[in-house]
């Protein structure tokens, strides 16, 4: 029953990490107050689960046909640091080409970092290979942007969700896999009978659920979501976001949520990092970023968010930036934002501003999440073989 143990661990990692926290299972809390109190005890977690330090990715620009020589580099990610805590959602926002997706690929070790470290539970994963890397991959999974290209059209849903078990046979014994796949389908709100269907027989939202089920299969602790809803309809976006929030509560997942839709990021994130041209401009809790942005770029970005109410729209000032984003192959000296900043001074060109603290505003599970947990109706433990029947409320 090593499997059940692992799941148990995933459900209560805080208790595992800090033994002095009393065994309080959120799920069983009778009242909302109790649940909130229990959660507050959990909030002060010790070590972050993922620590990113000065992560750099430069793509070389080469010239010449036979003898290639490097003439420069696209500085897609240029020294990024942040922390991710257990059970937290860290949103990363920024405009196109600022390096968000490269960060996701680096965290998944799909790209090799040029410099810097990514510590998963204290272990640097950027230099891992072979078995050690496979073990880390079990714990860090990804949900992709486009549900139409992220599922192999020649494979059935059962094969797609079952593939993680084939690659990591230790997670599920062979005879058990079909049942596990069906449970996963159930967990993400799809009919378990769809197991033999092909991806093109599903709608976009259903496909994204399949992608999430594949990401969940190995019982990961961290899920990196690279614009997971931007390819979906707004109504379907809400469903998928709600599903992801529910799964986070069930399995105590940590999300890195990359998006350019600022209101969705605000909705789902505990903390938000704002990226500009390969650098982290600002990191803070969602209220800090959205209500009191300090970085001029964040202010400009937020002023571009559409406001549905026409009356409040009248009173607000939009900050319109001039010029284009500079080329990441040749970024401006000093502060990256100075070429478009209305507050730029002479010293901005000379001094590189200090990066925001990676652990700024450490995880605070907000009241919304607390009440969400306390009143959440869906309780599932999909990978515990002899789990009791679910509460049918």
């Amino acid at each position: 029953m090593a499997d059940a143990e692992k799941n148990e661990k995933a459900m209560e990692p805080a208790a595992d990490a800090t033994p002095n926290v009393t065994e309080v299972e959120t799920v069983e809390a009778a009242t909302e107050d109790e649940a909130v109190a229990a959660l507050e005890a959990k909030v002060d977690r010790g070590e972050p689960i993922l620590q990113v330090r000065n992560l750099v990715k430069h793509f070389p620009l080469t010239q010449g046909i036979l003898f290639k020589r490097q003439i420069g580099a696209v500085k897609a990610v240029d020294g990024i640091s942040f922390d991710l805590y257990q059970g937290e959602t860290l949103g990363i926002v920024g405009e196109s080409g600022c390096g968000k997706s490269t960060v996701a690929k680096l965290l998944m070790t799909l790209e090799t970092a040029t410099a810097g470290e990514v510590f998963y539970k204290g272990q640097d994963i950027t230099r891992l290979s072979g078995r050690a890397l496979r073990a880390v991959r079990r714990n860090i999974q990804m949900v992709f942007q486009d549900p139409y290209t992220s599922l192999n059209p020649r494979m059935t849903v059962g094969d797609i969700i079952g593939e993680p078990f084939e690659i990591h046979p230790e997670v599920a014994p062979k005879g058990d896999r079909r049942r596990k796949v069906q449970e996963l389908l159930d967990v993400v709100g799809l009919n378990p009978e769809y197991i033999n269907r092909y991806p093109h027989q599903f709608s976009g939202g259903q496909r994204q659920r399949i992608g999430i089920a594949r990401g969940l299969a190995l019982n990961p602790e961290i899920i990196i979501c690279d614009e997971p809803v931007s390819a979906l309809d707004v109504s379907v976006q809400a469903q998928v976001i709600n599903l992801m929030e529910g799964l986070q509560d069930e399995f105590n997942l940590s999300y890195i949520f990359i998006a350019h839709d600022l209101s969705i990021v605000r909705h789902i994130s505990d903390r938000v990092g704002v990226m500009y041209l390969g650098k982290m401009a600002e990191i803070g809790s969602d209220t800090e970023i959205y209500d009191h942005p300090t970085h001029p770029y964040t202010q400009a970005l937020l002023s571009a968010v559409p406001v549905p109410d026409p009356e409040s729209r009248e009173g607000r000032t939009r900050i319109i930036l001039t010029g284009d984003v500079p080329s990441p192959a040749n970024p401006p000296s000093g502060c990256r934002f100075r070429t478009r900043c209305w507050k730029a001074e002479d010293k901005c060109a000379k001094e590189v501003p200090s990066s925001p603290s990676p652990s700024a505003s450490p995880a605070r599970i907000r009241l919304r999440r607390m009440s969400r947990r306390a009143t959440s109706r869906r309780r599932r433990t999909w990978s515990t073989p002899d789990a009791p029947a679910r509460a049918a409320v």
Binding site: L133, R138, Q145, D146, R154, H168, Q182, D186
Partner: protein
């Protein structure tokens, strides 16, 4: 598993979604019905087959091909006459005699007094063997090299692509003439080797480009993120999604190889006389074409029919495999 049993009875999305909140249940019910109502699920290949079955051209070419393959495999079933027996009293005889019906001289006789019908029937095997043989070799060699070049890229791709460019620069027909000229005894396998030697580049290019497209897909990244090895990614994810264009090109090229064999045989550089081939018969007939056009008509007609059948099949398969044309 309470809702498992529930959904088995209903079989619609509404059942499972019921405990996931009313909004979701409603949405799934809206999204699902088109998919769910139809019974058995079909794969993309299944869809392609479904599409094929509803195309008359596919059936025309399929029936023709089955007939041609049967003739190639068992020519004795289709004629009692010996294609090598020449009776000079039948020199260019055209009038069919009823008594000879089952010896099948309805196509008449050639200059040597041999039954043209029998020669056409026995010539099928050589043409089909060359066509299928060259296509098999070319698909295997070109497909493999193209896949390796496309998937691994870098210097491996550079080397393979330059070799492909060099071979592509050689004219197909002239090149195979030069190669075949070096052989005195030109059996079927020699012709296959010569044509394949110059023909693999097309498939390699097609395969390379479709592998490059397939390997950039998100599902390949997803497999890598799961920790899948190169073999699994290549054969479970990339190859099945890169195969369709190669199949189409190979099917159409098969007809071209058959006509190339006939061309070479006509020029006296392909198959040589003891072998029976349409190309040889067309070559023999060229001197008599003014007075006895029927000697040319039948082998040339069979050749055109065979090439037509393969190219039509290729077209039908392409249409069926390309979802954009649906």
């Amino acid at each position: 598993m309470p809702d498992m049993t529930k959904s088995q009875s209903g079989g619609t999305a509404v059942d499972t979604a019921a405990d996931a909140g009313p909004l979701q249940a409603a949405a799934d019910a809206v999204l699902a019905p088109g998919d769910v109502s139809q019974g058995k699920p079909r794969s993309l290949w299944g869809d392609a087959w479904y599409e094929l079955r509803h195309r008359p051209l596919f059936w025309v070419s399929a029936v023709l091909l089955v007939l041609l393959l049967a003739i190639a495999a068992f020519p004795g079933l289709f004629t009692g006459a010996n294609p090598r027996d020449g009776d000079l009293t039948n020199h260019f005889l055209t009038k069919p005699e009823l008594t000879h019906f089952f010896r099948a001289d309805w196509f008449g006789y050639d200059g040597q007094g041999r039954s043209i019908y029998a020669r056409v029937i026995y010539g099928t095997r050589a043409s089909i063997m060359v066509g299928v043989g060259v296509t098999a070799v070319v698909t295997l060699v070109g497909g493999l090299l193209g896949m390796v070049a496309g998937y691994f890229g870098g210097w491996i791709d550079s080397i393979i692509s330059r070799i492909v460019d060099i071979f592509f620069g050689l004219p197909f027909l002239l090149g195979s003439m030069v190669v075949l000229n070096a052989f005195t005894e030109r059996k079927v396998y020699v012709v296959i080797a010569a044509l394949a030697f110059l023909g693999w580049t097309t498939i390699a290019r097609v395969m390379r480009s479709s592998v490059i497209t397939a390997k950039q897909a998100d599902y390949v990244t997803a497999a890598r993120a799961l920790g899948a090895g190169t073999g699994r990614i290549l054969f479970r994810h990339v190859l099945p999604n890169a195969l369709a264009p190669t199949i189409v090109v190979a099917t159409i090229a098969l007809g071209a190889y058959i006509s190339a064999e006939a061309t070479l045989s006509f020029l006296g550089l392909g198959l040589a006389d003891p072998t029976i081939s349409w190309g040889i018969d067309i070559s023999d007939a060229k001197d008599a074409i003014r007075d006895n056009p029927h000697v040319m008509l039948f082998p040339a007609g069979m050749l055109s029919l065979t090439v037509f059948a393969f190219i039509t099949l290729g077209d039908a398969v392409r249409d069926a495999l390309d979802p954009k044309l649906r």
